[in-house]
């Protein structure tokens, strides 16, 4: 399998990681090497095998729908890049 620069650029856009044109070539070469390894999977016939998503297959636990955490907004916002009046600030998204 061989990814094109255009495909790698598209994946990077989906992943929200900026890649410069010079990084694109190097990244593509490395990813293609990794996908060559991954392609070995296709040699095995797994028809009828149930996918295993998790080592312990038990039903998800339920708990009563009640508040269990205390309000620690100030402590959690101390590590945020930019806050104001208890809100996280980001660039304007609505014109």
């Amino acid at each position: 399998m061989s990814l094109s620069n255009e495909q790698v650029g598209n994946i990077a856009r989906l992943a929200r990681i900026a890649l410069s044109d010079t990084e694109l070539d190097a990244t593509r070469a490395k990813l293609n090497g990794i996908f060559d390894l991954i392609e070995q999977m296709q040699a095995v016939d797994t028809a009828g095998v149930e996918p295993m998503s998790h080592p312990q297959e038990f039903p998800t636990r339920l708990r009563p729908d009640v508040v269990t955490e205390t309000d620690r907004r100030d402590a959690f916002q101390q590590v945020a890049p930019q806050t104001e009046a208890g809100l996280y600030l980001v660039p304007k998204v609505i014109e």
Binding site: A12, M41, V93
Partner: protein
């Protein structure tokens, strides 16, 4: 005291031969002296350690000490520690002083353990050499031009160099067992679900599992016993009674203490790919196991070779999802200059993540994308089931599975730094265990041609931790490989 086992430290503390403050100071001073060269710690928390040690001394004075009260430890920097920098080896979290403790950190604090600081690691636990850390590579205490292994390389190097008696780690594809092997110490990854992942910064959630490092199986058993237990804040935490893993070690000494233990040797682990010196060392260790009464039988894990390709679909898929939380909004790095919101995300992530982390996010994004999900993600999950079934079939014929932990001893710093695929292949013996969710342990088996440690891996059925630790303990009672020390720890 630097070389004392945990039971010896416990006796010395309880007999007031040394205080916890003195013990912590001893190790902190060693860190000051040796860490500039080894780079095993990202953060040294002298003030926090001494405060915890004073509290431990008060508990000891009141005769309220538990097994680990006053014992110093290093936490892998993947565990959130309230009020202490928690970087996960990444520039992304270079300024992240965690506002809360991981469950493991809370448990050990409550036990009176003294955290000396945060151990270096591969960025977001992605790597096998500790070279992907934003804070620089860790050096192997046995030979400074060699890697310590990864991703918990700082934890393993710290214990090997006796900068800490014990350390926590995490193991997603071998990240406890492989550095334990490379650094000549003992490390255990328990059954998936035994150690809470709450506050353990996520890489691949269905594979990540906390684990323990020590100089011996006995020290690991003491630490692991204090780390496990149900936690409702982790949806995959198992509701089962906690176990005292030291109980399995207490049986009286016997000439053939492993009589009746059936050790399965997977044909595929002893095929080509293993270095000659590793093979010779592992063979000799297995001979020792037979001398102790164990029998060996050949078993087969026919799909083991597919563990690496399957892992490099599943782990990146989970990582691309987990690491989407690093967006420069709530915590972590935010780019200094950006245009709109999408540009802020893309630049913050481009600047905050290193090359290996980006690669894995990109692979994960691709294999989960429309049109590729079945061919990659579902195929990998089907192989995962075949691999897990292989272990169950093999364990019909034996009590534990044994083999090399790694195909070679520690390689040179920089040797594989530019060849990710080559590095991925080095985890051939450890990754399948994570896919199945089984417990695995690595203990020193001897030394390779270049004087570097070789690890022997023991793999057990679900919840067989006591059996693995017990077998390794019997081996260590009869041998002294685990007691050998690198020159810097003399």
């Amino acid at each position: 005291m630097i070389h004392a086992s945990l039971p010896e430290l416990r006796r010395a503390l309880d007999a007031r031969q040394i205080s916890s403050v003195e013990l912590a100071t001893l190790f902190l001073d060693r860190i000051d002296a040796l860490n500039p060269e080894l780079n095993a710690f990202i953060t040294v928390d002298r003030d926090g350690a001494l405060a915890a040690a004073r509290a431990a001394d008060a508990r000891i004075a009141a005769d309220q000490a538990g097994a680990l009260t006053g014992i110093p430890l290093a936490h892998k920097d993947v565990f959130c520690t309230e009020g202490v920098l928690t970087t996960c080896g990444s520039k992304m979290l270079a300024n992240f002083v965690s506002p809360y403790d991981a469950h493991v950190v809370s448990l050990l604090k409550a036990a009176g353990v003294v955290s000396l600081g945060k151990a270096n690691m591969d960025e977001f636990a992605m790597g096998s050499s500790n070279e992907s850390s934003h804070y620089g590579a860790v050096r192997n205490p046995w030979k400074l031009d060699r890697v310590p292994g990864g991703s918990s390389g700082g934890s393993a190097a710290a214990v090997a160099a006796r900068l800490a008696p014990i350390a926590t780690g995490t193991d997603t594809g071998g990240s406890v067992r492989q550095p334990a092997a490379f650094c000549g110490i003992t490390g255990i990854k328990p059954t998936y679900g035994l150690v809470s992942r709450y506050g353990m910064i996520a890489y691949a959630s269905s594979l990540d599992q906390g684990g323990a490092f020590g100089a011996s199986a006995e020290d690991c058993a003491l630490l692991l016993s204090a780390m496990t237990g149900f936690d409702e804040r982790d949806s995959t935490s198992l509701e089962r009674p906690t176990e005292d893993y030291t109980a399995a070690l207490a049986a009286p000494a016997a000439a053939r203490p492993l009589e009746g233990l059936r050790i399965g040797l997977p044909r595929e682990f002893f095929a080509e790919g293993m270095a000659d010196d590793v093979r010779a060392t592992v063979d000799a260790a297995l001979e020792q196991y037979r001398t102790l009464g164990a029998t060996t039988v050949e078993v087969s894990l026919p799909n083991a070779k597919l563990a690496i390709p399957a892992y490099y679909v599943i782990a990146p898929a989970e990582c691309s999802s987990n690491l989407s939380r690093f967006d420069g909004v709530r915590y972590g790095h935010r780019a200094a200059e950006y245009g709109d919101l999408a540009d802020m995300y893309a630049k913050s992530r481009a600047e905050g993540f290193g090359a290996e982390v980006k690669r894995r996010i990109l692979i994960g994004t691709y294999v989960l994308s429309h049109g590729y999900y079945d061919a990659y993600y579902l195929q990998a999950q089907r192989l995962r089931r075949l691999i897990a079934q292989d272990f169950q079939a093999a364990l019909q014929h034996c009590d534990v599975i044994a083999g090399p932990t790694t195909p070679t001893t520690a390689w040179a710093l920089g040797e594989m730094a530019d060849d990710p695929v080559q590095m991925y292949l080095s985890d051939i013996y450890t990754i399948a265990v994570n896919l199945a969710g089984l417990p695995g342990l690595s203990h020193p088996a001897g030394f390779g041609a270049d004087g570097l440690p070789v690890g022997l891996q023991l793999i057990g059925d679900y919840f067989a931790e006591a059996r693995l630790l017990g077998a390794a303990h019997r081996f260590q009672q009869a041998t002294d490989w685990h007691a050998r020390r690198p020159a810097c720890a003399e």
